[in-house]
Amino acid sequence: MLTLRLAFRNLLRHKSRSLLCGLSMMGAYVLFSISLGFSDGSYGGLIRMLTDTHSGHVQIHQKDYLEAPSLFRNFKLTAEIKNQLTAHPEVLAWTPRIFSAALIFRENKSTIARLMAIDPEREAQVTTMREKVQSGVYLTEAVGVTNPILLGLQLQKLIQAKLGDELIFIGQGADGSIANDLFTVVGIVGKSSTDAEARRIYMTLESAQEFLSLGERIHEVTLRLQNYAKARSAAVNLQEILNNEQLDVQPWQVVEEQFYKAMQADQQGNWITQAVIMLIVGLVVLITVLVNVFERRHEYGLLLALGTPPVFIFRSVIVEMTMLSSLSVFVGLFFSFSLNLYFSVEGIAIEPPMEYGGVLFSDIISEVSLFVLFVPAVFTIAVAFVVAFFPAAKSALAVPIEAMRGN
């Protein structure tokens, strides 16, 4: 109680100094929190974008597929696997996929295109595939059409195809034969020619299995989880459950390795900024405490002379600084909460947009979470606490007669 009273009165004693020190701690806390908010918010947004539009949270392949994708590195999606996926509590939805490439012809135009075959119903539960259709219809609505396809915008421009046009595909079958068939354009996908889907052709799983002579085999199962943050643990868990050495279950961090690495490198840059902010807090606190302690050396001398235990003086210096930093953080909480909330709604546009491993990133947004508000709070208070140690010890170990003599 006595310590608290002394600490509190001492804070009020030099109001402008305490205010200045408190304000800089508050400013640093708010900056730290916002920088964390933006980093979390933006990466969170990016991850959601990437996983929602294409990659899902976890993928299953034949064990060598990710290293070197190939038509032949496929597996059979057995009833057992389907049941295991459906029964898993963390799995929200799953969808099978096949990837290949083909030469496509329309009249005298031709090009090479990437093929992606999907189960239209399931795919729509895992990704935003249905929303990618810009004109025409999604695969499920193309009733009565044999071999319907969705054509990427860029390919469409290249071969000048219209909805309803028939295209000739030539490719390689899994049995070594030459594959060829006719496909009908039922929809156009991709907003701009830079979108990934603008360079793809989507078809149904059945058409692809027929065209590529794959039977019931596929290349990939993509999973959507309840919580994307659990991708790694869910992947490990699924690998165990499937108990099949031929299969490889990986989270989005591995599947989209390039993107993930770029993001991590960028996050490291943020930590440097945050460390610099904390360094400044440390310096301000150090200067304030040193000035206070120097000014009060007579007082500490007197307290010691009266028989005050040194620990008591040490504690009162630390308590004083911790009080100030806690108060600053408490007031700062209001600002960091409101600013992060504001920026989570109103992102800041970045010009020109940045690219992370193939994903474009044109807005940075913030996020409000306990992590974003409390980690910087704990850091700020901890830095003030630690920095006050040395001056506190110095005043506690002062020699009373010397402290009192000097004028």
Partner: protein, 229 residues
């Protein structure tokens, strides 16, 4: 026969070493009895402050022995000394006596708080000594709102309040005008007579020396005379 509160034997104290060595106290043998009201006098630099600092354990001796209330100070550790000062010695300095952020009441209460004296008793004792030093009604003032003489009176109240065996005061009146200084000393003398409180104080002021019951004169760190009046 009166009880001995302080007893020193062949006290020597020097600062520094070699060429720059200063011999502040030489062969000091002193006995302070309960109920003494002793002035330590002597020219500037004669060792008065050094002696008082040693008597309360704020400074160490170079050689010799010192006992306060029957306990040898040399054998005590820093924290034992702090506890000893808290419980047995009242201190009054020339200046910087009060903690500026605490009120008069809190300043007087301070040592009792360290001693864990129960609240009711604390309040009771503070009230008693505030009245004794004539500062009733000023308990919620801060030191800066008091005159120099009032501040010294608070310091004496604080020194008295924990019932020490002895009060050591280093030039308690040096920062006061002579009338105020004389009043302060009058008050100390009253406590000495009415409450049998032992005082040892240093001074330069002949008027103050007049009012002491015993005068110890130091010159160059030696006791050159010790007279009872």
């Amino acid at each position: 026969m009166a009880e001995i509160v302080i007893k020193t034997k062949n006290l020597d104290k020097s600062f520094g070493s070699g060429e720059t060595e200063i011999h502040a106290l030489r062969d000091v043998n002193l006995e302070i009895m309960r109920g003494d009201f002793a002035a330590i006098v002597g020219p500037s630099g004669s060792g008065k402050t050094t002696l008082l600092n040693i008597l309360c354990g704020l400074d160490t001796v170079s050689s010799g022995e010192i006992q306060v209330s029957g306990r040898s100070l040399q054998s005590m550790s820093g924290s034992e000394l702090a506890k000893f000062r808290r419980e047995h010695i009242g201190l009054v300095f020339q200046a910087y006596n009060l903690i500026p952020v605490l009120t008069v009441l809190e300043n007087i209460e301070y040592v009792m708080l360290l001693q864990n004296v129960p609240s009711a008793e604390r309040k009771e004792r503070v009230r008693k000594f505030l009245t004794e030093v004539g500062l009733e009604g000023k308990e919620n003032r801060f030191p800066a709102e008091l005159s120099g003489g009032q501040q010294q009176r608070v310091a004496i109240a604080r020194a008295m309040v924990s019932h020490p065996d002895i009060i050591l005061a280093d030039e308690p009146t040096a920062n006061l005008d002579s009338a105020t200084g004389a009043q302060l000393l009058e008050m100390m003398r009253r406590f000495n007579e009415e409450l049998n409180m032992t005082f040892v104080f240093s001074t330069h002021d002949p008027q103050i020396m007049e009012r002491s019951k015993r005068m110890v004169t130091l010159t160059d760190g030696r006791i050159v005379s010790d007279e009872l009046k």
